[in-house]
Symmetry: C3
Subunit: 155 residues, 3 copies
């Protein structure tokens, strides 16, 4: 147990743990947003989901796609595609002994960029708001990957 207590004393690792938890919680919020739009707009993907609204043919009209729901789902998928590399690369980067302030700058920029990306996607804000948010988060992850591979490559 002693070693784990040590791990949680490591400031970079603790900062990573905090920011990763925040950005994952934000991603989980997308599920709630999808459920909210599905229920308020009565748009479902599965027959069993709308059986309380009607039976048989009457229920089938709820099995459709809706631009608002699809938009939330695209934002959710984009989150997954970007947060998974951040988690993997960020965890390894945190353990590679980076400078604390540099590491925190990376984490803050990434989390801020992803939150702004979600706002820009769901509002929606005109481009290039969403595009810039996407590329900021993308660049931060690549920067961590670059530092990791440069200092610790072992193939």
């Amino acid at each position: 147990m002693a070693d784990l207590t040590e791990l949680m004393k490591n400031e970079v690792f603790m900062a990573f743990a905090s920011y990763a938890t925040i950005v994952l919680s934000k991603m989980m919020f997308m599920s709630t947003a999808t459920a909210f739009y599905r229920l308020t707009r009565k748009v479902f993907a599965n027959p069993e989901d709308c059986s309380s609204f009607g039976k048989g043919e009457n229920a089938k009209k709820y099995l459709r796609t809706d631009e608002r729901v699809e938009r939330v789902r695209r934002a959710h998928l984009n989150d997954l595609e970007n947060i998974v590399p951040f988690l993997g690369i960020g965890l390894l980067y945190s353990l590679s002994g980076p400078d604390l302030s540099t590491a925190i700058l990376h984490f803050r920029l990434f989390v801020g960029a992803r939150i702004y990306h979600t706002i820009a996607y769901l509002t929606p804000l005109p481009q290039p708001n969403r595009g810039l948010a996407f590329f900021l988060g993308y660049g931060v992850t690549l920067s961590m990957a670059y530092r990791l591979l440069k200092s610790r490559l072992y193939l």
Copy 2:
């Protein structure tokens, strides 16, 4: 190496490793289920996948969507959306020194909820079976995130 041996002596971390491996293996099973339905129902997304069934126009009829295949794909995507936060938050939670029995309760509830979610999605069972399974897994992950941020927030 000594420190890693220590890490694997940590009971919470070992329990997390076991449950995470089980739930990830379950998620991988979804790929096999998709392949099974695609092959038995002859429903493909790529022209090169069905070239053995026919050439030219004859092959195009297999490039379609099928409700059964789409259902497995939705279940798979829902797994991804929920298991990724569990992996990230659960790993950090395991390292934050929680009570062993509390931690194991979290892991068991999550893995049970996701397995039941898959059964409810693929059978399909009437709602609210799938909905309750989803919210149970969701709540377990949020509970770990809450404990993690409460005890270790470092921004």
Copy 3:
């Protein structure tokens, strides 16, 4: 901090860190490929993305799906579905004290299989190129999961 320095001295863990970073960077490249095809083929999912190409009805013609873009998106989703289990299981496997050369063989086969999978999907190469690449990566992850559960099961 001492323990983390130890962690980065562990050769299996360092090898995992390197291969995980490479395969995640490859996955991130898929976002760039999607953006490239969307821009060169003028195929968009959101009205705000193509507002610079025209206004009102004129812009709507760019809101469509394109086989080339959908192909990249399927390859990206397949990456996510397979790289997430590799990251989770591979991290825990690396910490379970495996033999160095066995571990590196696993990592190399997985990364090679996923890179070949992407080439086979985007070219596209005739089947079973993509299928074999998929099953090789799948089998490598299952092999790590099996070794992990066999030696360290703790439920």
